[in-house]
Symmetry: C2
Subunit: 255 residues, 2 copies
DNA sequence: TATTATCTCATTGTCTGACAATGTCAAACA
DNA sequence: TGTTTGACATTGTCAGACAATGAGATAATA
């Protein structure tokens, strides 16, 4: 148990403090292993070849041969990318790019612990993010983004009224709004939380049509966002989120 | 380019829609690869053995033998955990646990571009979360949490006035507030974003004492949170975040 | 005795080769 | 024209070997 450097605030002396100021100027030396170099080479290759999301990467054998490293090294490098959702790999098929890659991208894993009332908690965090993203979208969206939002709304309403599965269309619609916020981090984090939310629901509870009652409100939401009316857009978004929250509570109480 | 299932909304017929209703009852079968089972087994083992952060995991050979899978399979599973920061591995030493693991933990990867703008973006997301957490803390904090906030404030102010490195005390102070919000997800996400924020700073820009001008305001923040005055607490928090934002912008413009 | 240098050994990192499992694509077929 | 089948390519898994390195034990030295 590594508890050495805990609560050092009482033992500090002037000398130690001065020493800290010197030490602080030093940065830890990066330990470079073979597969990090592979990752770098892959990034370079992807940039040079201009690979986009959905494109296929060279096979493991090709990469191993080209970089003259063992296939297992390639596999370990790809594995870490897979864990971060940058690529997806399919036995028999190949490896395809699933996220944008560039040399100045960093990939940050966030670990969250879900507990008993995790549904309401994830929803609580997601609400805050989604409301802010909506507000920013109403303010910042450009013409192209507004048109995309409108188009996605039509698909959503069509699916909904036809009795089809509207969840994918819903995700695309909200994705368009989040993208229009101008801060991609909102979209990323909301998407991840949304996935968690759904995994927990669809998997153990079997409740897939959560939030159905809120779909008609989406017409207003799109309208206000496209109009640039941030206050009203936020109000409708809050209403939508409240409906979902109420449904979640109802389902939790049922059990 | 896998573009088969794009925009299927126009080709749908009533029959297909009815079919969808049947199909919808089916859930996708989880594709379980070997290393996912290894991960599950590892989680089980860690929980059963009560391993804490800093503890050592069994060696790869032991795990492979125990689970009767090849060592490469173990390595691939561990690699994905390493990519997510759950474990650290050291050649010659061993594998140690670097994050809490439990069956209800989820790991959310986000990607950031390592450019000046991303600083503002992480700050933007963090601001929203931190303001909401502050509001909730002012409303929900119990007596014990209020006392902890006050105590952490004193340590922070002491370090600050002595000219020591106050960053750790600052993190602990905000951690106390976030914990008092009653929703642990806020604290977790804010902490992760905060770490990213600092990593980006300390590493390429070398600017470590960001937000120093906002420290005196922390006394007011603590006061209002402890008093339960949510509106004022939020106002001060916004002020603090604005100071940081201004400093970030200034540094960006310098370059 | 206390400290430092050295050695040994356990552990992760990498390579090679092999086979299994499975998706893709084109050829054969109705 | 649409469907089925099968060869092939590609990832998944295994085994064994050696290299590189860190930690702890041991020996040497003051």
């Amino acid at each position: 148990m590594n508890t050495k450097n805990k609560n050092p605030q009482s033992a500090k002396t002037a000398k130690k403090s001065a020493n800290n100021n010197v030490i602080r100027a030093l940065r830890p030396i990066k330990k470079r292993t073979r597969d990090m170099e592979v990752i770098d080479a892959l990034i370079e290759m992807i940039e040079a070849a201009g690979l986009k999301i959905g494109d296929r990467l060279p096979t493991e054998n090709e990469l191993a041969k080209k970089l003259s490293v063992g296939r297992s090294t390639i596999r370990e490098a790809l594995k870490s990318w897979q864990g971060m959702g940058i690529i997806t790999r399919n036995k028999g098929a190949g490896t395809i790019l699933a996220a944008e890659v560039s040399s100045n991208s960093i990939y940050v894993p966030i670990t969250l612990k879900l507990e008993a009332e995790s549904l309401l908690r994830t929803h609580g965090v997601r609400s805050v993010l989604e409301i802010e993203a909506t507000r920013l979208a109403a303010i910042n969206a450009n013409e192209k983004q507004r048109r995309l939002i409108s188009a996605r709304l039509e698909i959503l309403m069509y699916d909904f009224e036809m009795g089809d599965d509207w969840r994918e269309a819903d995700a695309l619609f909200h994705g368009a709004i989040n993208e229009a916020s101008g801060n991609p981090l909102f979209g990323q984090m909301i998407k991840q939380l949304h996935d968690v939310f759904n995994d927990i629901y669809v998997e153990p509870l079997g409740e897939a049509r959560l939030g159905e009652a809120s779909i008609p409100l989406h017409r207003d939401l799109a309208k206000y966002v496209v109009e640039g009316n941030a206050d009203e857009a936020v109000r409708v978004m809050q209403e939508i989120l409240n409906i979902v929250q109420t449904e979640v509570k109802a389902i939790i109480n049922e059990r």
